[in-house]
Amino acid sequence: MIHQFKNNGYNIVMDVESGSVHVVDPIAYDMISVLDEISGSIPLSSVDGDEIKAVPYEKVRDIFAKKLPSYNEDDISETYEEIVWLIENDSLFSDDIDSDIIKAHQEGEDIVKALCLHVAHDCNLACTYCFAGKGEYHGNRELMSFETGKRALDFLVESSGARRNLEVDFFGGEPLMNFDVVRQLTEYGRSIEAEKNKKFRFTLTTNGILLDDEILDFVNKEMGNLVLSIDGRREVNDRMRPRLGGQGSYDVILPKFMKAAKSRGQMNYYVRGTYTHYNLDFSEDVKHLAELGFEQISVEPVVAPPDEPYAITKEDVPKLLEQYDILAKYVLDRKREGRGFNFFHFMIDLSGGPCAYKRLSGCGSGTEYLAVAPNGDLYPCHQFVGMDDFLMGNVATGITARELRDKFRSCSVLSRPECGSCFAKYQCSGGCAANAYNFTHDINGVYDIGCTLQKKRIECAVMIKAATAGL
């Protein structure tokens, strides 16, 4: 499968199955398009032993002449030689990856390697769009005890098999409302690393209200990643992220976040925002954060029931796609000026990214990644916490809902027919199960708006790679 698109003056061809990306001139772009069109009726290659042989020029010459009359034959012939080279080097019209190998791999051992620890089901903000229902997650306000958290870390170690790197995200609600337990659990984790031959990678996600120098020192010492929640411009942030009394949070958190980012050398953190129907010009929020000096930025679409007034609608999509194009050009401009920053959804690792197994197995929710409620209950991920149908067990007893785990294990690109023909399948790995469930009541469903935005982000990311490679 190939995917062709034009963006910012670049003609780009992605060979999906091999992962190759080509920047081509107009004649090559049009010829590859013709070949794709006829590939159902004329085999574009044959295999002879270990060698791939492209269809001879004589067999396609007349088709090119008929479909591309504006190009002269010498140019077509010359360009075809280059196309042949790509086909015969398995980087254009490459055959599908053998999904049976992936499926067999997915049916392997039961491993848990990452936990989202909900140390506080309580919050000191009243964010309008909070999927946790202002921190309570469909339940009561509750803090995780050290004993429950300790049991969660033990459960993680016991369930991780030979995996050495274990991830723990301190999440909420607002985790700093239970900072003593965060500190104790971090210290406990460190104390067992050598004995258990494990390495904990801790992350803290915070709204910043309680972030102070003492906590920041601790976080900088112990947390491999820090996620700082802020939506962008003051009026945008304060509309959706008010304090409990109704006043805005921007002025309180911004100085703390700027200090935190600087103290971490502008690395290993994200300022992380959510955009909604109310700020469809969200590129301005990203620009705002970049102008403030933040170098690691993630701003993402809200996940919300369609009847909420702030939910993204289908009618919003064209404007949002345009916003990503604007943002991609801005990212490039800043880079050229020597003031580059990372926009999370434009980051793509083409040369050293994950293997095909990872790309096709999704985020691992419900299998290798679980969320832990304050009382120790296990859920497939943070977005399912508090939903009775998705209770998987408890850290004291382990996973008891084995059928549910098996359902999540089989949830991937390979389980969604729509993903099979999608060029983005190796980049998004089938999307978010929680998103799919929210919109289709099925974890194997497809959230159309999310897919459309995801595909646009990938195109922008690839274009940025082409531009920064000097092609």
Partner: protein, 47 residues
């Protein structure tokens, strides 16, 4: 080549031979929390 220039990419098919160690980051632990993206992550073995 005159008409086509290729970006340096990892061959996904070859990654089947040595991949699958499972040591890489879980995608939701990075920044997203509401969307799944793996293409921006790094292979632990390639670090």
């Amino acid at each position: 080549m005159k008409h086509i220039r290729s970006l340096q990419t990892r061959n996904l098919k070859k990654s089947l031979k040595k991949g699958g160690c499972g040591e890489c980051q879980t995608s939701c632990q990075s920044a997203c929390k509401t969307s799944c993206t793996v293409g921006n992550q790094s292979c632990e073995k390639a670090r």
